[in-house]
Amino acid sequence: MNISNDFYFSERGFLFDTNTGLTFSLNKSGAFVFQQLKKGLDAAHIAEALVEKYGVDEKTAAGDVRDFIQRLKDFRLAAD
C-alpha cells in the first residue's frame, strides 16, 4: 500500500490533497487509520490496532479499514 505524499495532514484529521486541492475531514478513527498507513502498517495490523484502541470487534475493524483504504484509492490518495 502506497500512500500519496501530496498532502497536508494534521493529527486532528484535516487533510488537504496538494494534487487535487480537495479537502477532507477525517473523524478520530479515520485520522488514526491514516496515521498508521503513513507509518507503513498494513491493513491487518491497523485493524488490530483499531480493536485495541477503540474496543471494536475484529470483523468490524477489518471491514472499516478495508472500506477506508478503498475510499483513499478512489480519491487517489493511496495505491496498491
Binding site: 501530496d6 496538494t18 494534487n19 486541492g21
Partner: protein, 366 residues
C-alpha cells in the same frame, strides 16, 4: 534589483474584481528587488483600490477604453511628462487590444508592455475560444455564439438547462429557464454589448492555471490553483495552489498552441464522472489570484517587469503547493483632499508626510 516606475490598471475591486491590486501587492512583495514608483491608472474617482496609499505612489485618471486609442495615448503623454513610466501592466480585458495596438507609440514614450498581437488576444473572447478548442483537440464545454434573444431557445435546446450566459469580456450567469436567460441577456447586452455566448454548464471541481510567457513565447512559469470558494458568477474568492502534473501539462500544451506572450490564466473544470479537464475560459492577463501565486513562490508580476527591463529571467520551477488564500473586502478611508485631487486634477500624488498625518488622524478617529 530592478529600478523603474510601473503603472498598473484595473484597480476596481467590486463584485467582479479586477486584478490591479493583487498585481501591485505582488510588486510590493518584491521589496528591494524592485525600486521605483507604483502608479495606478484608473477610470473612476471611486474605483475601490485607488486610495490605498500603502500600495500606490501616484494615481491618474484615464479615459475609458471606449473613448479610443488616441485618447489613451494622449493621456499617457500627459502623465509621462510628470512621471516617467517604464513598464505598464494592463489588467482589464477591454483595454488589452488597445495597448497591444499602441505598443510602438508606447515604446516611443519609453513605456514597455508585454502583450501578444491583437489576433491572439482576441482568442480569449468567448465566441472564439470554442473554435480554438475544437481545432486543437482541447476538451471544452459546448459554446454557441448569439446576437439576438430569439436565438436563446435554439441554443438552450442544444446545450440544455442550466447553461451559462456570458458576455464577450465580463459577466457570466448560470440560467435555468428561458425567462431567466432573457433577463440576463439584456443585462449583459447593456453592460458589454453583443455578441454573447451560451455555454454548456459542466458541474465539477474548478481549477485555474496562472502563467507567464516571455516575448519569445517561452514559458517562464505556470502555477495551478484549485478554486475553493466560487461566487454565483464564477469568481474565485478562495483558492489553494496544487501540484497537478496532468493539469499543468495540459496548460503548457495550450499555451504553446496559443503562442502566448505575457501573462495569462486558463480556467478548467474537472468532471467527477470522466477523465480530463475542460477548458472553459481563458483570460489574457494576470488574474485576481496572482498574489496567491506570488506567495506560493512565483512572483510573475516582478518577473514580467524584469523581462521588460531587459533582465534575464530564468524559468521558474518548484512553487509551493498547499498555499491557500481567501479574498475579503476592507473599508479604505480616503481624506476628502485625495478625492478632490483626483476629481478635479485627474491625479493623486500620495505625499509621505500627509500619509503619516492621515494615519494619526485615523488612529484618533478610531
Amino acid at each position: 534589483m530592478v529600478h523603474c516606475n510601473v503603472a498598473v490598471t484595473g484597480l476596481n475591486a467590486m463584485e467582479d474584481s479586477l486584478p490591479g491590486i493583487p498585481v501591485i501587492r505582488s510588486l510590493r512583495a518584491a521589496g528591494e528587488e524592485l525600486t521605483g514608483k507604483i502608479i495606478g491608472l484608473t477610470y473612476d474617482t471611486f474605483d475601490t483600490g485607488i486610495y490605498n496609499s500603502e500600495l500606490l505612489d501616484e494615481v491618474y485618471l484615464m479615459p475609458y477604453p471606449s473613448e479610443g486609442e488616441t485618447a489613451i495615448l494622449q493621456r499617457l503623454k500627459e502623465i509621462v511628462k510628470k512621471t516617467p513610466i517604464q513598464v505598464l501592466i494592463p489588467t482589464v480585458d477591454a483595454e488589452l487590444v488597445s495597448y497591444s495596438r499602441l505598443e510602438p507609440e508606447l515604446n516611443e514614450l519609453g513605456i514597455k508592455v508585454l502583450l501578444p498581437p491583437e489576433d491572439r488576444i482576441r482568442l480569449h473572447q468567448k465566441q472564439q475560444l470554442g473554435a480554438f478548442c475544437y481545432y486543437n483537440g482541447i476538451k471544452a464545454p459546448r459554446t454557441i455564439t448569439i446576437t439576438d434573444p430569439a436565438e436563446l431557445s435554439a441554443a438552450a435546446k442544444q446545450v440544455g438547462f442550466p447553461f451559462v450566459l456570458k458576455g464577450t469580456f465580463h459577466d457570466a450567469y448560470m440560467v435555468s429557464s428561458l425567462p431567466e436567460a432573457l433577463v440576463f441577456y439584456h443585462k449583459i447586452k447593456e453592460a458589454w454589448g453583443l455578441p454573447m455566448v451560451v455555454q454548456e454548464y459542466i458541474k465539477g471541481e474548478e481549477y485555474t492555471v496562472v502563467a507567464l510567457a516571455d516575448g519569445s513565447e517561452r514559458l517562464v512559469g505556470a502555477v495551478a490553483i484549485k478554486k475553493l470558494r466560487v461566487t454565483g458568477t464564477g469568481k474565485c474568492w478562495a483558492g489553494g495552489t496544487v501540484h497537478n502534473e496532468e493539469l499543468l501539462a495540459l496548460a503548457r500544451g495550450i499555451i504553446e498552441k496559443l503562442r502566448w506572450v505575457g501573462p495569462l490564466e486558463l480556467e478548467f473544470i474537472k468532471r467527477p464522472d470522466s477523465p480530463g479537464y475542460y477548458l472553459f475560459e481563458f483570460n489574457p492577463r494576470f488574474p485576481v489570484t496572482v498574489y496567491l501565486v506570488t506567495r506560493s513562490g512565483h512572483n510573475f508580476p516582478l518577473a514580467l517587469v524584469r523581462l521588460l527591463m531587459g533582465e534575464k529571467v530564468e524559468k521558474l520551477n518548484g512553487y509551493q503547493a498547499g498555499v491557500v488564500s481567501t479574498r475579503h473586502t476592507v473599508d479604505v478611508i480616503a481624506p476628502m483632499e485625495y478625492i478632490e485631487s483626483l476629481a478635479t486634477k485627474g491625479e493623486l500624488i500620495f505625499d509621505w508626510k500627509r500619509k503619516k498625518e492621515f494615519k494619526k488622524e485615523l488612529i484618533s478617529y478610531e
